[in-house]
C-alpha cells in the first residue's frame, strides 16, 4: 500500500497549489493589513492574528505570477515556518486532498529559476496537476526572491 499524504490546496492564477496539511495552522478570510514600507516587495504587510503579528507574503509575487487584477481580496493560508507563523496570500481556497505517493513526480527540467526551488514537484490528480510548495522556501522574503521573480 503506497503512502498517502494530505494537502491543503489553493489557487493562484488558476493554477492549483498545495502545502502539506500538517504545516498549516489555519485558513482565514482577508484581514486588515498594515503595509511595511521599505520591506521586500513580496511582503504584503502585517496582520493581527488574534494578538499575534503575522507577516503576509504575496505568494503570486513570490512565485513570479502576474498580479491579481480581479480585485477580489486574497485569502490567508497561515503556515508554520521556522521563523514563526507566516500568512501566504492566495486567490482562493481549494479542498483538502489526499494523494498517493505514486502520483508524485519531480518538476520537469524545463522549470527553471528560483521558482524551481519552491516547487517540490507535482501530484498528478485526475483532472489537473497539484503543485506542491515547500513551505520554508515559500515563506522566505528576501530581495533575492524579487530578482529571481523577474522584478
Amino acid at each position: 500500500m503506497a503512502h498517502s499524504s494530505q494537502f491543503c490546496t489553493f489557487y493562484l492564477d488558476k493554477l492549483l497549489f498545495g502545502v502539506e496539511l500538517k504545516g498549516v495552522q489555519e485558513v482565514i478570510r482577508s484581514l486588515e493589513m498594515t503595509k511595511v514600507p521599505l520591506a521586500p516587495s513580496v511582503v504584503s504587510g502585517l496582520i493581527n492574528l488574534r494578538g499575534q503579528i503575522v507577516t503576509a507574503v504575496d505568494l503570486r509575487r513570490r512565485l513570479g505570477l502576474p498580479p491579481d487584477t480581479s480585485g477580489a481580496r486574497p485569502m490567508n493560508v497561515v503556515v508554520r515556518s521556522e521563523d514563526g507563523a507566516v500568512s501566504l496570500l492566495v486567490d482562493e481556497i481549494g479542498d483538502v486532498v489526499e494523494v498517493e505517493e505514486d502520483s508524485f513526480e519531480s518538476p520537469p527540467e524545463t522549470l527553471r529559476g528560483s521558482v524551481r526551488s519552491m516547487i517540490l514537484g507535482v501530484h498528478k490528480l485526475k483532472d489537473r496537476l497539484l503543485h506542491v510548495l515547500d513551505i520554508e522556501k515559500a515563506c522566505q522574503m528576501t530581495d533575492a526572491a524579487d530578482a529571481a521573480a523577474g522584478l
Binding site: L38, Q52, I53, D83
Partner: protein, 796 residues
C-alpha cells in the same frame, strides 16, 4: 529519570550559589569572624562537590574539593582569612563557573582540571597558616590527606574511592563536614563549627537549619517557584491581547445601551487592568540581582591597582523589567570598574588629601517619574577638566579654541565620545579607548540617558536614567500616507505645526534640503512619506507642502535633532511592543510593531534608524560636537552666534542667539495697548512688547514715540521673543536679517545706552544690545513679563 534535567537543575542552582559565594567571600574579607557566612560558603562548595560526584563530573569535583579543604580549615578557625586566601578561593569560584559553562554547552566537564589553582589552594593550607588561636596540630594532618587525594586523582583512579577516602580521612582528622550532623567534633576545636547551634540572629540560617541534613540551606522554598521566562513572555502577550479585546468590548458595549453588559464589561475592564499590572510585576526583578556581583568586581579591580574601596548600596530592591536588567548589566559593570580604576585614588594619595584611605563607591537606585535612576558615585579625585580638554584636543575631537570655551558640563560629557580615554596608562581594566561611548550607546538603545557630574577632589557621580519597562512604552501615534506609525516618546522633543499660510516662509531650502527655523536654529526636515517611499513625491518638499499645514515632530537621535514631517499627529498612547519577524529585521527604520485599539497593526519607528537613513546622523560625532561647542560658546563670555536685525536707520544690531526663545510674527490687530505698553496674547499669556525704535530713541523723543499705537494698516510685526531671567518678553524689530556665526572679536565701547558694545560682524559694525538694560529701562508697569515655566513647550 531524566539526567539532562538533573544536570540543568544542578547548573541553575550552582550558578546562583556561586553568585552568592562571590558576595560572601568579599564580605568575609571585611569581616573574617562572620562564622555564618563562612559556614554558608563551605556548604555551597560542599554541595557542588557532592553533586559532582553523583553526576560524575570528576574534574569539577577535584577543584571543588581542593577549595573545600581550605574552607574547612577556615571554618574551624584554624586558619585566618587573608587576601591571598580570598583571591585563591575566588579563583576557585571562577574555575567552577567556567567548568559549569563547559558542562552547559558540552555536557561534560571539559579537559582542564586547574592543577595550578589546586596547588595554590593546597599550599595555602600549609604555608599561609598562621592560625590565630587554634592549636596547630590538626592543621598538619590535613596536607597529608590532600596529598593522598591528589596522588590518587592524578593517576585517574576510581574517583569514588578518592572521594570516600577524602571524606573519611577528613573525618578522622576531626574536620567536620556538616552532613553527619550528629557526630560532634572533638573538644579541641575552639568554636562549634556548624551553623545550627550558633547565631540565632541570622534568619536565613535558622530557616536553613531544618533541611541542613542535606548539606545546604533551603531558603523559603515553599514561597517561590521557578517559572520559565518564555512562560512569562507568553503571559505578557496574552495579557496584551486581553487588554486589546477589553478596549473593543468597552467600545461595543458603550453603543449597546445594555446596562447588564456594561456592568460586566466595566468589571472586566478592572480585572484586565489588575491582571496586566500583576503580570508586569512577574517580569520585574530587583536591581540587587546585578549589583550583587559588584563587590566582587570592585574587589578584583581594587586589588589589581592597589586601592582600597568600600561598596555601599542603596535601593537594592528597586525593580526593573527583566529585559532592561539584562541590558544595563554590562554598562553598569563598566561604570563601576571605571570608578575604581579612574575615580578613586591610591590610599597614599587619599591620605595626603586628608581623606579616608579607603574609598567609597556608592550605588544608588530609585524610582522617579516612571523612570529608574541609577547613580554610581565615588569619593575620588573627580574628573580633571584640563586633562579631558587636553586629551580631546589631542585626539582631534575638538579644537583648542572650542575646548577653552566649553563649559564644565560639556567637558564632562566629552568622555562619552568614541575613542576617548584619559587614563594616562593603559590598564587591563580601562584606558583602551573603548568604554564610555559604548556605555552611552547601550543605555540609549533602551531609551535611557547617561549624565556625569564631578567635583574636583570630591568625587564623580554618573547618573543613568532608564525606563521601567520596554514591553509597554508611551508613544506618539502619527499618520502618514494613511497608515499609522508609533514614535517612542523618549526620542520626542516637541511638536511644531506650521499653518498653511506660513508654509512658504516656515520651510526653507538649503540647496534643496528642507529646513525649518526653530527658535533661530536650522532644523533639518525629514519627510516620513519620502523616507518610507510611500508617496509619489512631487518635485520639491517646499511645493509638496504648499496648501496644507505641516506637522513637524521634533526628534532627537544620537544627540542630533531633526524634524520629522508627518501628515497628521494623532495622540499619545501606551503601546505593547511586539518584535518584528526575523526576516523583516533588516528594515532598520522600524523598531517593532504594535496592535492599536482598533485591532490593526502599527509599526513603531526606530528613530535612530530613520535618522541614519535620512543621513541626519551619518556624519561623525565631530559635527555634533562642534555644534555643541557653538551653543556653549554663545552662552559663554565670548559670544559666537548672533541674530542680526535692522536697527534704526541703516544700522545693524544683534543679540546673542542664546537669549532668543523664539521668532514670532504677530498681525497688528493682535497687538493691544496696556497703558502705553504694547502687549499681545501669546500662548495664553500676556507678552509685553518692547519696541526697538522706542528703546533706541533719544530720551527726549521717547515719551512721544511710546504713545504711538500700532499703525492699523501696517503688515505683521516681527517680534524676537527673548528670555531673560526666566521671563519672556517680546522685542519688536523692523526686520530680521540673519543668523550669523562670527568671532566678533573687534570690539569698541558702546556709544549709546542699551548697547553693550559694538562689534564687527561680517565686516559691518553691529551694535550688540544690552538686554538686561533694556528690560530695566522699559517701564513694564503692571504688565509683568510672562513667567517662563508656564510657557514651557517641550513635549513631555
Amino acid at each position: 529519570m531524566n539526567d539532562n534535567e538533573i544536570v540543568k537543575d544542578f547548573l541553575v542552582e550552582s550558578y546562583e550559589n556561586l553568585d552568592r559565594l562571590d558576595r560572601d567571600l568579599v564580605g568575609l574579607e571585611r569581616n573574617p569572624d562572620d562564622k555564618e557566612a563562612l559556614a554558608g560558603v563551605f556548604r555551597t562548595i560542599h554541595t557542588i562537590k557532592g553533586t559532582c560526584g553523583f553526576l560524575a563530573f570528576n574534574k569539577l569535583e577535584k577543584v571543588a574539593h581542593a577549595g573545600e579543604n581550605l574552607l574547612t580549615l577556615l571554618r574551624d578557625g584554624r586558619l585566618a582569612l587573608n587576601p591571598e586566601i580570598t583571591t585563591a578561593l575566588l579563583g576557585m569560584v571562577d574555575a567552577v563557573r567556567q567548568m559549569l559553562k563547559v558542562i552547559e554547552t558540552s555536557g561534560h566537564d571539559g579537559e582542564v582540571d586547574y592543577p595550578e589553582l589546586r596547588e595554590t589552594l593546597k599550599r595555602l593550607q600549609t604555608t599561609a597558616a598562621p592560625a590565630p588561636s587554634a592549636s596547630s596540630a590538626p592543621v598538619n594532618i590535613v596536607p597529608v590527606n590532600i596529598d593522598q587525594v591528589n596522588v590518587a586523582s592524578a593517576n585517574k583512579a576510581e574517583k569514588t574511592i578518592v572521594a570516600a577516602l577524602a571524606e573519611t580521612t577528613a573525618e578522622t582528622a576531626a574536620l567536620k563536614s556538616p552532613s553527619p550532623a550528629s557526630s560532634l567534633p572533638p573538644s579541641e576545636i575552639p568554636s562549634p563549627p556548624a551553623p545550627h547551634p550558633t547565631a540565632p540572629a541570622a534568619p536565613t540560617a535558622n530557616k536553613a537549619a531544618p533541611t541542613d541534613s542535606e548539606g545546604r540551606p533551603r531558603e523559603a522554598s515553599s514561597e517561590t517557584i521557578r517559572v520559565g521566562v518564555n512562560v512569562l513572555d507568553k503571559m505578557m502577550t496574552l495579557v496584551g491581547e486581553l487588554v486589546l479585546a477589553r478596549n473593543q468590548l468597552l467600545q461595543t458595549s458603550s453603543t449597546m445601551k445594555d446596562t447588564g453588559l456594561q456592568a460586566v464589561s466595566q468589571r472586566m475592564n478592572l480585572i484586565a487592568t489588575e491582571l496586566q499590572e500583576a503580570v508586569m510585576k512577574t517580569r520585574m526583578q530587583p536591581i540587587g540581582n546585578i549589583w550583587n556581583q559588584f563587590p566582587r568586581t570592585v574587589r578584583d579591580v581594587a586589588l589589581g591597582c592597589g586601592k582600597q574601596v568600600r561598596v555601599e548600596m542603596e535601593g537594592k530592591e528597586t525593580e526593573l523589567d527583566k529585559t532592561i536588567i539584562e541590558a544595563i548589566k554590562d554598562p553598569l559593570t563598566h561604570l563601576v570598574r571605571n570608578s575604581v580604576d579612574h575615580g578613586i585614588e591610591l590610599p597614599a594619595d587619599r591620605a595626603q588629601a586628608g581623606k579616608d584611605p579607603s574609598g567609597r563607591l556608592i550605588l544608588r537606585a530609585f524610582h522617579e517619574g516612571g523612570q529608574v535612576n541609577i547613580e554610581i558615585s565615588d569619593d575620588g579625585a573627580g574628573l580633571n577638566l584640563d586633562r579631558i580638554r587636553r586629551k580631546a584636543v589631542e585626539r582631534a575631537l575638538i579644537t583648542a579654541e572650542q575646548a577653552a570655551r566649553m563649559p564644565e558640563r560639556e567637558v564632562f560629557n566629552l568622555i562619552f565620545l568614541p575613542g576617548f580615554s584619559t587614563a594616562e596608562k593603559v590598564t587591563n581594566v580601562s584606558g583602551r579607548g573603548v568604554g564610555m561611548d559604548v556605555v552611552k550607546t547601550n543605555v540609549e538603545r533602551i531609551g535611557g540617558t547617561v549624565d556625569i557630574q564631578s567635583t574636583p577632589g570630591r568625587g564623580t557621580t554618573v547618573r543613568v536614567k532608564i525606563p521601567l519597562t520596554l514591553a509597554i512604552i508611551p508613544a506618539l501615534v502619527v499618520t502618514c500616507a494613511g497608515d499609522r506609525y508609533a514614535i517612542p516618546q523618549v526620542s520626542l522633543l516637541e511638536l511644531v505645526r506650521i499653518e498653511a499660510d506660513k508654509v512658504s516662509t516656515g520651510i526653507e531650502l538649503v540647496h534643496g534640503a528642507p529646513v525649518h527655523r526653530l527658535r533661530g536654529r536650522l532644523l533639518p526636515l525629514v519627510y516620513l512619506s519620502r523616507e518610507l517611499k510611500l508617496a509619489n513625491d512631487p518635485a520639491s518638499p517646499g511645493e509638496a507642502a504648499a496648501g496644507a499645514a505641516v506637522n513637524i515632530v521634533v526628534l532627537q537621535a544620537d544627540g542630533r535633532q531633526f524634524g520629522l514631517v508627518v501628515d497628521q499627529i494623532n495622540d499619545t498612547e501606551e503601546i505593547v511592543v511586539k518584535p518584528l519577524r526575523k526576516q523583516l529585521k533588516t528594515v532598520k527604520t522600524f523598531a517593532g510593531s504594535s496592535i492599536m485599539g482598533d485591532g490593526r497593526v502599527a509599526l513603531i519607528l526606530d528613530v535612530l534608524g530613520l535618522a541614519q537613513r535620512a543621513n541626519v546622523v551619518t556624519e561623525t560625532r565631530d559635527r555634533q560636537l562642534t555644534e555643541k561647542a557653538q551653543q556653549a560658546g554663545s552662552t559663554a563670555e565670548n559670544k559666537r552666534t548672533f541674530l542680526l536685525f535692522a536697527g534704526l536707520g541703516d544700522s545693524r544690531m544683534a543679540i546673542p542667539l542664546s537669549s532668543l526663545a523664539r521668532l514670532e510674527e504677530f498681525p497688528v490687530t493682535q497687538v493691544e495697548m496696556s497703558g502705553s505698553q504694547w502687549v499681545t496674547q501669546y500662548r495664553g499669556q500676556i507678552l509685553p512688547l518692547i519696541r526697538l525704535n522706542v528703546v533706541m530713541e533719544e530720551r527726549r523723543n521717547r515719551l512721544r514715540a511710546l504713545q504711538v499705537p500700532p499703525a492699523a494698516d501696517s503688515g505683521p510685526i516681527q517680534v524676537l521673543v527673548l528670555q531673560q531671567e526666566g521671563r519672556l518678553f517680546g522685542l519688536v524689530v523692523d526686520q530680521i536679517l540673519d543668523i550669523v556665526e562670527d568671532r566678533a572679536d573687534v570690539q569698541s565701547a558702546a556709544t549709546r545706552p542699551n548697547v553693550l558694545y559694538s562689534v564687527v560682524i561680517g565686516e559691518r559694525i553691529t551694535e550688540l544690545l544690552d538686554i538686561p538694560a533694556i528690560l530695566r529701562g522699559a517701564d513694564l508697569g503692571a504688565v509683568r513679563p510672562v513667567p517662563l515655566a508656564k510657557t514651557a513647550e517641550v513635549a513631555n
